[in-house]
């Protein structure tokens, strides 16, 4: 297989060839991104007044809105990709090896958008960037977001992507194309000798071993941002960290399934993305969704038994109040996704459209869940008897968030045209190991 790849005169997987479909996709993403930049410029010059956010208490608003909801969602999505790639490396899961680069890329794209989202939400973003370098305090839960997530996980994922792609870069660097310089640069002298392979295996193993705890710790701090707040009913609790991780795993895997399906359709049948990949991803998604539903059930039951204090106000707002439609819709979506996945697992007949449908449901439910974590405790979670508040995002927030999604799409869409997204050497290692 590797020999075939080498003698090919065209770059594999459509790299370097811009199809009409891709151009339309890229143009649309770019336009949405530019609209997002426009909306943010408007926000920057007028202040956050152009959003639907307002101070809690006497002003009756929510001081964190859609931006923080989406930051939580994006950072959550980033968990699954790189962790999956690490597991593939450590446990040598051959069936998932083809998607491991896509998984890491998903992590990088969603982390980039998530971290950018944090900056966009700040009242003074430029000062925020500088003060982060000068003063950021480890005692604040934001240390996790700024240092561990934005710097640690993102940079590790980039190194992971780079080192993991060197071998493929060397493989295609021999193919004449306008991108040859880039592939040679990426390969950085890699010649695929046995000592090089051994070194690579060693580095990736230890990088993977270090990466998984880093990601878990870093992303748990996203849950702790809320979990350590004694003064905010609905937030305080030790479950917030683990709950964040579990939903993150489910939403990340769901996004990976959708991306894999898109790549499979776009790149064609000549790539090793058969049903086996979807069976693996579907099974993992099933496990993560089941765990997430379990957490959800535990949290709901706890709410039902809340004492008639302020926790009860949150329970009422969620279960029968203004947020009930979001709460119940997200629950229904999760249950529908569960049914779809369990029925496939039970029969052993995995269908790509069904796994994708379940993934879309889970991903949508995850956005709703993040919304329900962030917003209700601000509008209804005051310990002093302020009147309940309300929050609805403005067009600026929707446009900026649309811009973030578009940025993610541009990063992933751009990458697939300069580098093979599916590992070219997926099967090589297996052969070596078996021999």
């Amino acid at each position: 297989m590797s020999v075939e790849t080498r003698v090919e005169q065209k770059l594999p997987q459509g790299v370097g060839r811009l199809t009409p479909g891709w151009l339309v996709f890229f143009a649309v993403s770019f336009v949405v991104f530019v609209i997002g930049i426009g909306a943010y410029s408007y926000q920057l010059s007028n202040g956050l007044i152009v959003t639907g956010m307002r101070s809690t208490g006497t002003m009756g608003g929510a001081t964190w809105g859609l931006y923080v909801v989406m930051v939580e969602y994006f950072i959550g999505v980033s968990l699954a990709g790189v962790v999956l790639a690490a597991f593939v490396e450590v446990f040598n899961i051959g069936a998932l090896r083809p998607v491991s680069r896509l998984a890491v890329l998903l992590t990088i794209a969603s982390l980039s958008t998530g971290v950018l989202g944090v900056l966009l939400d700040l009242g003074s973003p430029f000062r925020g960037f500088v003060n982060m370098l000068l003063y950021v305090r480890p005692q604040s839960a934001f240390f996790g977001t700024f240092m561990l997530v934005a710097v640690g996980v993102l940079m590790t994922s980039l190194v992971y992507l780079y080192l993991g792609g060197r071998r493929d870069a060397a493989t295609i660097a021999g193919t004449p194309s306008g991108l040859r310089w880039f592939h040679k640069l990426w390969a950085a002298g890699y010649r695929d000798t046995e000592p090089e392979r051994e070194r690579h295996r060693r580095v990736m193993f230890w990088l993977s071993i270090g990466l998984v705890p880093l990601v878990i710790v870093a992303l748990s701090t996203e849950g702790l941002v809320f979990g350590i707040q004694v003064g905010r009913p609905g937030w305080y609790g030790s479950l917030q960290g683990p709950d964040f991780i579990v939903l993150a795993a489910a939403s990340g895997l769901a996004n990976l399934v959708v991306l894999t399906a898109i790549i499979r359709r776009a790149v064609g049948a000549r790539i090793p993305l058969g049903h086996a990949v979807f069976k693996w991803l579907g099974s993992l998604l099933l496990a993560a969704t089941a765990a997430s539903l379990y957490f959800q059930t535990v949290k709901t039951f706890t709410l039902l038994y809340a004492t008639p204090g302020n926790e009860r106000l949150i329970a009422d707002a969620l279960l029968r109040g203004p947020y009930a439609w979001i709460f119940w819709s997200s629950l229904v979506l999760m249950v529908v996704a569960m049914i779809l996945l369990v029925s496939q697992a039970a029969t052993g007949a995995w269908s790509v459209p069904a796994v994708v449908a379940a993934s879309v449901a889970i991903s949508t439910a995850a956005v709703a869940e993040r919304y329900l974590t962030v917003i209700p405790s601000q509008t209804h979670g005051m310990l002093l008897p302020y009147e309940p508040g309300s929050y609805f995002p403005t067009w600026v927030e929707f446009a900026v968030v649309g811009g973030l999604f578009a940025l993610g799409a541009i990063l992933i869409g751009g990458f697939v045209k300069v580098f093979p997204i599916i590992n070219l050497n997926s099967n090589r290692r297996e052969v070596r190991t078996d021999a």
Binding site: L133, L134, R137, M147, M155, A188, G189, P195, R199, V203
Partner: protein, 67 residues
């Protein structure tokens, strides 16, 4: 050389991480009054520590053969 360099980068990275963390957090302060890092810019040390740790992987793998 390869192994020594990588280990040196890891040791430096861990040292910088620890230094950055400890200097950024005013440990031992009895009240919440001490909210500034002991050394302004200490968080940057933490970031350099992460970079150093990751460079060890790059160094180990990218250094050409025969070194």
């Amino acid at each position: 050389m390869r192994r020594t360099g990588a280990i040196a980068l890891i040791v430096m990275g861990v040292a910088l991480l620890l230094a950055g963390y400890l200097l950024a957090a005013p440990w031992g302060a009895s009240t919440v009054a001490d909210s500034d890092p002991a050394v302004v810019g200490a968080p940057t040390l933490f970031i350099i520590g992460i970079v150093s740790l990751l460079s060890s992987a790059l160094f180990y793998e990218l250094l050409p053969d025969g070194r």
